[in-house]
């Protein structure tokens, strides 16, 4: 028995971190952020080459057939480097939706293309996941119309997967007639915020789900776990930088990390942060292996990392003094990634409320 990552998982993380360190200097990050699409073609190629894009796709469809825990390991590394890559929706949620709700034929058609990086699918919910913003879509036969806000990974997506209020999922080609996408500048320049306007666009309904609502919740939960893992990485990165800074920066003739004011704050932050890793790991593991705990853990991991991430983002910024507030160190990219993750797919308050409902503590 082992509570922790396997050697394979550590290796996966290692090689990914190598890639990210190589491809994603701060200058490069600034350039990609300038564009704001959340997509870096060179980095994407690297992810494809490492087999990360087809992480969850079964081997028979050309993927690696790995588990959500592996995806969480990847997400933590991506968050650590605020990598501009369409991962949560395109690499995790969309293939998971296809695997859970797609027919054999649909899977055979789409999963190989996902694994090869050829198709990148954005995901949007029309209600039900605690996300603010407008969303109203109607399905008429195989034609879909309406407005969708807060689509994930839409920056360079070829398709969008729409979750209808009843839980059914409809796949729409982003370049079809009747699909208009509006990208808006996002707080997190490594992740776009996009809206889709659909006017009688052709939709492919994933139709093999027994219970569409269950699938929708499962996909949302997987996204939550991955966002939590991403926040974990981003927060860890900010913590590491603040720690290093506190050992270098001298004020009042002392390295600032020798002052209890700074030292105790760092101690409090690591005390908050370190247990989050085990929570994220187990929450990811539970999605595949412990169904009876899966929902609570996804919701709690998302909520808890949202809270811890915010505290760490603020306090590590403060620890850098005025420099932390400037653009110069680029710390703010991490700050904003944490803020973005907190608000997507249900903010902490909503996730806790849903976790209460799952446990029967909420009479509707």
């Amino acid at each position: 028995m082992e509570f922790g990552l396997s050697n394979e998982q550590w290796m996966l993380e290692n090689s990914l971190r190598g890639l990210l360190e190589e491809k994603l200097s701060l200058e490069r990050l600034r350039k990609v952020a300038e564009i704001g699409s959340g997509f870096d073609a060179t980095l994407w190629e690297g992810l494809v080459a490492q087999g990360i894009v087809g992480l969850l796709v079964p081997e028979r469809f050309g993927g690696s057939g790995l588990a959500l825990l592996d995806a969480a390991v990847v997400a933590e590394s991506l968050g650590y480097h605020v990598a501009p890559a369409p991962f949560p929706a395109s690499v995790v949620m969309a293939p998971l939706a296809l695997m859970s709700a797609g027919s054999e034929a649909q899977q055979a058609k789409w999963l190989p293309k996902i694994a090869s990086g050829e198709v990148r699918i954005s995901v949007a919910f029309a209600g039900g996941v605690g996300q603010t913003g407008e969303a109203s879509v109607q399905l008429d036969g195989d034609q879909i119309s309406g407005l969708l806000t807060g689509a994930l990974d839409a920056g360079a997506a070829s398709h969008v997967l729409v979750f209808l209020p009843d839980g059914r999922a409809a796949l729409v080609d982003a370049h079809e007639m009747g699909v208009a996408i509006e990208m808006r500048g996002s707080l997190d320049r490594t992740r776009p915020v996009s809206s889709y306007e659909l006017n009688d666009a052709r939709a492919i309904i994933l139709d093999a789900a027994n219970d569409a609502r269950v699938v929708a919740a499962r996909v949302a939960d997987a996204g939550r776990v991955v966002l939590a893992a991403d926040t974990l990485g981003a927060a860890q990165s900010m913590f590491d930088r603040a720690l290093a800074y506190s050992k270098e920066r001298v004020q009042f003739n002392r390295v600032i990390g020798s002052f209890q004011g700074v030292k105790h704050t760092l101690a409090d932050l690591v005390t908050m942060l370190e247990p989050c890793r085990a929570l994220v790991w187990y929450a990811a593991h539970a999605q595949d292996a412990v169904p009876e705990e899966a929902r609570i853990l996804a919701l709690q991991a998302k909520a808890h990392l949202g809270e811890v991430g915010r505290e760490i983002a603020r306090l590590t910024t403060e620890m850098h003094g005025g420099m932390g507030f400037t653009d110069l160190l680029g710390l703010h990219y991490w700050f904003k990634r944490v803020a973005f993750n907190r608000q997507m797919l249900g903010a902490p308050e909503h996730c806790r409320q849903e976790a209460a409902a799952v446990q029967g503590w909420l009479t509707v």
Partner: protein, 406 residues
């Protein structure tokens, strides 16, 4: 406690209401301080000064209205202006920090020369305190000035000089007495930004906007009488200014105003159809902060009252910045939260920010962190509160002197 409106106050209230009714349409938008006041703002400021609704307690010979301090009067004026949504006048570092500093420790000549133009909004100041190597440890400033034929010749670099790109003057902390040690070697100079040798470079912050500057000074010449107090008194003068900065940064009026904005926002935003002010988890957070804002507001009135009576406020005054900046941050965090995913679109560079609720709140939230850091980070505030306010001993080897007691 005597908060009842006597006839004198009722008369003032009537007067202010009348003024707002007849002149309110001339008011510029409230807020600002990040730009040079435009014509409209200057004209409004002139009107306010004429009526004594601004600089009410500054002596007439310096351009003020010359009345003795009466907190109730100020509260009435502030209330009427804010409930009518008209601007209470220009807010900037010159007005909030330099003017009270000059009135407290400047010479008569300096007050006569600078106070009037500053409160009229004609002269804009920036603050030359922090340097890249001395953010918290201000007294470690390396910028220095030597004296040559009746002038200080200044060389060095300052950072966080907000408004430097449009300011007329800088109040500058620099080293003039090399033999006098860390704190005793500093002086406080008034430097025209038009002087040759000053180079201002914008500093982009985490918000994506250039709210601050770095200012490089190379052989900048300033006549020797452009000093506040004497050579070597700079640390004392700087601390007077910092005292006013702390009060400015924790201003409870701003908290009250922001609380009202969050309440408005929570009535407008909704999550799955329910207004967020009706969602108990958010509402309870709002109410907790409301309690804190109320306490801060009345605490502010108490401080004003003590000031009017010439009483010592001691630690009560020192806590204002630490208290106020954290509450402001909690308020903007709540606003960001209730906006949810709809709060993520962000366009910080456009002009029409006022209508972009998401961007405005995200900027406020990040700027609040800047304010927690600026003007002495929270840990510096805690040292000041603990050591000056509570009489706790200093760190054994820290060689900082914390300046004069308040």
């Amino acid at each position: 406690m005597d908060l009842a409106y006597g006839p004198k106050y009722r008369a003032l209230q009537e007067e202010v209401r009348g003024f707002v009714r007849s002149h309110g349409h001339l008011s510029p938008r409230t807020g600002g301080g990040r730009k040079r006041p435009d014509k409209r703002a200057l004209a409004w400021q002139h009107l306010l000064l004429q009526h004594g609704y601004f600089a009410r307690n500054i002596p007439k010979e310096y351009g003020g209205f010359g009345l003795p301090l009466d907190v109730m009067e100020l509260a009435i004026i502030a209330d009427e202006f804010s409930s009518a949504g008209v601007s209470p006048g220009i807010m900037n570092q010159g007005i909030s920090m330099l003017v009270p500093t000059l009135l407290e420790v400047g010479s008569k000549e300096q007050c006569a020369k600078w106070v009037g133009p500053t409160i009229r909004g004609e002269v804009i100041w920036c603050q030359g305190y922090s340097e890249p190597g001395s953010g918290s440890d201000l007294a470690a400033a390396k910028t220095h000035a030597r004296v040559e034929d009746g002038h200080f010749i200044i060389n060095g670099q300052k950072i966080w000089t907000s408004s430097a790109h449009f300011a007329d003057m800088m109040f500058l902390l620099c080293r003039t007495e090399t033999e006098k040690g860390k704190h005793g070697g500093l002086s406080y100079l008034l430097v025209p930004m038009s002087a040759p040798g000053i180079d201002v470079r914008p500093l982009v912050t985490m918000t994506g906007r250039a709210e601050f500057n770095e200012t490089f000074l190379t052989d900048v010449r300033v006549p020797i009488d452009q000093i506040v107090m004497r050579r070597g008194d700079g640390w004392h003068v700087a601390n007077v200014t910092l005292k006013y900065e702390r009060l400015l940064l924790g201003d409870p009026n701003k908290l009250t105003y922001r609380l009202a904005r969050v309440i408005e926002l929570m009535k407008k935003t909704s999550l799955e159809g329910v207004p967020t002010i009706q969602i108990p988890e958010y509402r309870d957070r709002l109410l907790r902060i409301q309690g804190e804002v109320l306490a801060s507001k009345f605490h502010g009135l108490r401080l004003l009252s003590e000031q009017a009576k010439g009483e010592e406020s001691g630690v009560r005054r020192l806590i204002v910045k630490l208290n106020g900046t954290m509450i402001a941050y909690r308020l903007s965090s709540l606003a960001v939260d209730v906006l949810g995913a709809a709060g993520l679109p962000y366009e910080p560079k456009g002009e029409a920010l006022e209508d972009d609720e998401a961007t405005t709140w995200q900027i406020d939230n990040m700027y609040d962190i800047g304010l927690i850091i600026g003007g002495g980070s929270s840990n510096i505030q805690r040292n000041i509160i603990g050591e000056r306010g509570l009489g706790l001993p200093r760190e054994p080897t820290a060689d900082i002197k914390l300046g004069p007691k308040e």
